[in-house]
Chain length 347, copies 2
Amino acid sequence: LNIALLAGDGIGPEVINQAVKVCDAVAVKHGHEIKWIPALTGAAAIDAVGEPYPDETHKICINADAILFGAIGHPKYDNDPSAKVRPEQGLLKMRKKLGLFANVRPTFTFPSLIDNSPLKRERIEGTDLVFLRELTGGIYFGEKGRKDGGETAFDTCTYTREEVIRLAKKGFELAMTRSKKLCCVDKANVLETSRLWRETVQAMEKDYPEVEVSYEFVDAVAMRLVQWPNSYDVLITENLFGDILTDEASVISGSMGLMPSASVGEKTSLYEPIHGSYPQAAGKNIANPLATILSAAMMFEDAFGLKQEAESIRNVVNKSLAEGVVTEDLSGKNKAYKTSEVGDWLV
Amino acid sequence: LNIALLAGDGIGPEVINQAVKVCDAVAVKHGHEIKWIPALTGAAAIDAVGEPYPDETHKICINADAILFGAIGHPKYDNDPSAKVRPEQGLLKMRKKLGLFANVRPTFTFPSLIDNSPLKRERIEGTDLVFLRELTGGIYFGEKGRKDGGETAFDTCTYTREEVIRLAKKGFELAMTRSKKLCCVDKANVLETSRLWRETVQAMEKDYPEVEVSYEFVDAVAMRLVQWPNSYDVLITENLFGDILTDEASVISGSMGLMPSASVGEKTSLYEPIHGSYPQAAGKNIANPLATILSAAMMFEDAFGLKQEAESIRNVVNKSLAEGVVTEDLSGKNKAYKTSEVGDWLV
Ligand SMILES: CC(C)[C@H](C(=O)O)[C@@H](O)C(=O)O
Ligand SMILES: CC(C)[C@H](C(=O)O)[C@@H](O)C(=O)O
């Protein structure tokens, strides 16, 4: 198994290290051999070679069987609207060049952690939803710029029917393996791109007669996600709405440090925790490595078809939660373990 | 006081009726005379004259001292992406033609209703924030359409520096009357329009040296709003982000049926409840009229400078909540009052 290893910025390297240890242990137990191929990305890559997603890194990624990713972002770029090179550009370039058009983000609750949520227990119990966010189109990649000597700015949101179809197809297929409920999130009462989304998904309904499809406006979903998250199953949406709603959804479980994600597309898939680079914690050995480790479990299952290996990672993670071998974000009044101690215990 | 009365669709007429009764009672008590000028809008206007915001209605609005608005929207338009005329177009046309560039949306908690929230008490206690949403620009009003024989759709988000300045100015001024904290919500790591917003607001900081300004990405705010709503005070943002985030925020208090709003701009201001037309409840005399009545209180205070009148409305609303004279959405296991009964009690 050739895995490209993109640790990135902030706490990225620390959490990635634990995932590597756990994957190696699983590989030994199940008789696999993993070859890790580290590559530069994000602010770390800008510092080293002036480019957040160097060609060298791209070459490593396309030739790998899967990509394990930490986090990118550094505060020195955030408050400088005029910065010429930004870590985020690397992320967007990577998504586009690797054709990672679908970001898969599950949100579920851990029974032992349910009281960590800002939401009341009775509102979130049983929540098990998945967002499929379109990741290589929309306003992220449309034409943008300035006019009138810099006084007017514009961004263009563009979608083709084909882009909608390939994302929606994944949504319908995923719904078929779950409870057969699909929600298409858009703003069809205002946006032309949303009307294209809605009419395209409506036309696909006949190919999946068992799937019950609903259409909801993004503002209504932003409300209902917090009110009744367990009323949703599979949700599909465009890039920017997905960015906002998946982050909102990540709060539901109260365990943001535990939520994994996958970005899938034409060839190699990428697995990453949904949390960011959390610069305040970088280098302190306190960050929660579990989201990255659970992303590695998704990688075993989805990229390699190794279900048992994925299960053995999930099982040991559940055990660490049950026995309280957790970092300070989850330890409450009990002893907080260090990032590396959690990794060692899982191994 | 000449007030244009736009009842609109669904529960609009029912809740507007209660507000009219309450305003009339306040006027009598304080020696004012109100002239109500009813006008058509929304689906009701399409049905009557084929147009969701008729010129006749616009004439009435620009000549009024204020506008009291119910709700618009009818389900028969929602699942038809190809409908030629939609109630929402009326709303957008009205905002644009009346120059209502700032939507003011407070979110606060009512001590007696705090346990209605899906969020835990300790997370929301003390929440008192205000969104200023830009309402006449951005992707709502930019060029949109189809290309490639309908196979490609596009929407354009445009902002000029002037549009940002006039909205941000209101934000800074509002912050000065409150706790002097302003949060500018954008997506400056991806969008050019957001970078214009951020650089423009940054340049205005020197004119308000007492205001502490923070800049946060929209996805981060979508999370933090649910995690720690009471960490925010005044938030300014562009049209689409504002649409999503203000709806999300409306859930915090657990009393969506109670949240008022104002849309202000160049001349006449408009006051409306934040809830929608709630077609399932239309005609049943069960809808909560308090958000509309509290919007009328905002109208007395802000449009007419009649603070005492506003306070007397707010006081009697608080009394109805304390004494349980409330509609079924708030009555819990106790007796539910009808929409009109709540109105009568307040009078
Ligand atoms: C860092 C940023 C460009 C990125 C995005 O907006 O896609 C992030 O928020 C995410 O969701 O992965
Ligand atoms: C009905 C719709 C066009 C409108 C909007 O998106 O502005 C509504 O959601 C609102 O927030 O007033």
